[in-house]
Symmetry: C2
Subunit: 116 residues, 2 copies
DNA sequence: AATATGTACCTTGTATAGCAAAGTATTAAA
DNA sequence: TTTAATACTTTGCTATACAAGGTACATATT
């Protein structure tokens, strides 16, 4: 069963996930399952059906690249890493994120009606 | 022409707008055009085609109510105000927003790979 | 050898949010 | 009467997340 709180979080996350992926990969390489674990550790739950298409989209945009690597316990893993173009996109997203945080702070703080 | 920065901001805003509307209306009544002005003042640009359906959605969910009021300069205005249910939803969204801000902070800070 | 389990990657169909563009209605000024 | 300004509304499109299911590989179990 999906609670209202789940839904609220899901809706609020739209578009921000792409930013999260770049944040993670800016720090280190990772493969899909490990990215999900890392997001889960940050209380940002994501399912596979969301993440895989997102990674493919970002790869096709030139923001990410990947390499295959054998695993000692299971099938090979697709390790993604951020590209130069990805870092540029990340910089834009950092700015956009800061703007949004500021905007919310402004709206929360300023309870003064606009005079028209 | 739409720049990449515009698109980045647009995508990152998905789902957060609903929260912004409740934040604004928690402070004071407002009608659509004045809400757009207020969002613009907070650097959160929104167009009519986005806002009107959103207000109608939130009204249908019982989060908002409205009343008509004559204007001295133009057609009558639909003044929206937040309901009790809307305030409860706002409280949930406050929590979800804080969670998301924390999650991003965690992802930005923690550049330690997950060990699997 | 055959089967089951765990890990990892991928695809399809659906719901929904935001946006561009166009439309309707009211008021007042030229 | 026409034009402009203000305000509300609708339609069609694109993109994002999700639920659900599928494929492939490696290892352990029978």
């Amino acid at each position: 069963m999906e609670t209202n709180a789940d839904n609220v979080r899901s809706q609020m996350r739209k578009g921000v996930l792409e930013y999260c992926i770049l944040c993670i990969l800016a720090g280190h390489e990772a493969y899909a399952s490990s990215i999900i674990e890392e997001l889960k550790a940050a209380n940002m739950i994501v399912v596979e059906g969301t993440l895989y298409p997102l990674l493919i989209r970002q790869k096709n945009q030139g923001l990410l690249s990947y390499r295959w690597e054998e695993s000692t316990q299971g099938p090979p893993r697709k390790y993604y890493c951020i590209t130069q173009k990805g870092r540029e996109q990340l910089a834009e997203m950092d700015a956009a994120w800061q703007d949004m945080v500021s905007a919310i702070a402004t709206l929360k703080g300023g309870n003064v009606p606009v005079q028209l």
